[in-house]
Amino acid sequence: MKMFTIIGKYFVLMGNVFTKPVRPSIFFKRVLDEIEQIGVDSLWIVAIVSIFMGAVLTLQVAINFEAPYIPKYLIGLSARDTMILEFSSTIICLILAGKVGSNIASEIGTMRITEQIDALEIMGVNSAGYLILPKMIAAFLTFPVLNILSIILGIFGGYAVASFTDTVMVYDYLYGLNYAFVPFYVTYSLIKICVFSLIITSVSSFYGYYTYGGALEVGQSSTKAVVYSIILILLFNLILTQLLLT
């Protein structure tokens, strides 16, 4: 019963979020601020994780492909497809659920308990639309960029392994990158990250918006935001893969 109440409250909140902004110029400025906070500030973590994971992935595949009858170019192919299909969309979003999601939930939760949201409402502002919609739009616009960046940097990490170690030849790695490339995989990855961006921002905002109490409850909301975002990302990953790839 409680679960249905939560789902109902979530959709009521989303109904309030998608309303016409009071002033388009202020709304546009809010979106730009959120792009910086949600997208630009996440660049470094996405870059670091992607480079290292691409490198490690290439090393692990190379170690497991030691048999002489397995073509070495498959190492490049596996690194590419793993980055595109799963790592740069799903795994990056699980990381961003922790970074961006907890940030959103604690920011909005703190605004709630310090009556800043009430202050917005009293001024005649639709607080849900003012606070949440710019975050959702910002994530929707920047996460696909992070996705592409992650793919490129992950593949570059693998290339660095090929260049600086003798586990795989650079020629084999590059040949594998070009071998049997399916462009739709990139589209699939982009679709997934767009859906995940909305899940992370809306679920985290929901838990922040309905925080009541004090600092302890803000922490709890933040944790719930991350946990439920991750669960929903994994669930939608399964659904979207079934819908788009099979």
Binding site: V22, T114, E115, D118, A119, I122, G124
Partner: protein
């Protein structure tokens, strides 16, 4: 004028407000007093629409507010200034941005006009030259003053203050009280103040509403409070020895 007619509110079968009626008139300070948990904050939040009453009606200058749609409520709210207990300033913005925020949203003023208006409001609360400071960089009393400046920036018809003196030293509390009194007279606002602070009540109240166990237990003027025989009111107002002596002297 704000008319509150027979409003009741309960949370999970706990009746917090029971059939409360009150008329809050322009140019006067109406103070709502009562013990913690008596229902005065729920009353205030019901009047401004943060809670929806289970029963009863609220009128802002004859405009029905309780059953109005959200769009209409937001229009009326643009005529309301509110000073929250903790100030409720936007912590990520500096003082100037905090005060300018309602102007950005609801007026077509130029940048210069907005700057002039913000400076005027800051001057009004004796906070000139603090435009670029952030809320975390100023004291609690200053935050309250900035909150008042933000509340009056759109020349509100109605001013609500939720425990404006809580956590302030007596001198700052008196400053805030006088500011509320001056603003009420200057803008002819309908001012409603929720408070525990009996000094404030004696200092600035025009009308007093004593809320006890969710009901309006007593209503009267500032001087009437000294001569009332209402037991619960006397127990609340004259709890300290000092106020007992003042009451004895008054009698």
């Amino acid at each position: 004028m704000i008319e509150v007619k027979n409003i009741s509110k309960s949370f999970n079968n706990n009746h917090v407000l029971k059939n409360v009626s009150a008329d809050f008139v322009p140019g006067k300070i109406s103070m709502v007093i009562g013990k913690s948990g008596s229902g005065k904050t729920v009353l205030l939040k019901s009047v401004i629409g943060l809670h929806t009453p289970d029963e009863g009606e609220i009128f802002f200058d004859k405009r029905e507010f309780t059953k109005a749609n959200m769009k209409f409520k937001r229009q009326i709210r643009q005529e309301i200034g509110m000073v929250f207990q903790g100030g409720a300033l936007f912590t990520s913005s500096n003082i100037e941005d905090n005060i300018r925020f309602p102007l950005d949203l609801f007026t077509n003023m130029t940048k210069t006009e907005k700057k002039k208006r913000v400076d005027f409001c800051l001057e009004r609360v004796n906070m000139e030259d603090s435009n670029k400071l952030f809320p975390a960089e100023i004291s609690g009393g200053m935050q309250k003053r900035v909150s008042i400046a933000r509340a009056i920036v759109l020349n509100p018809k109605y001013l609500f203050c939720d425990e404006p003196n809580s956590g302030l030293d007596p001198q700052t509390a008196i400053l805030i009280d006088r500011l509320i009194k001056e603003i009420t007279a200057e803008y002819n606002t309908t001012t409603i103040v929720n408070t525990h602070d009996m000094n404030s009540v004696i200092e600035i109240a025009d009308n007093i509403y004593f809320i006890h166990e969710g009901q309006k237990w007593w209503e009267g003027g500032r001087d009437d409070i000294f001569y009332s025989d209402n037991k619960e009111l006397n127990d609340f107002v004259f709890a300290s020895d000092l106020y007992k002596k003042i009451k004895a002297l008054a009698k």
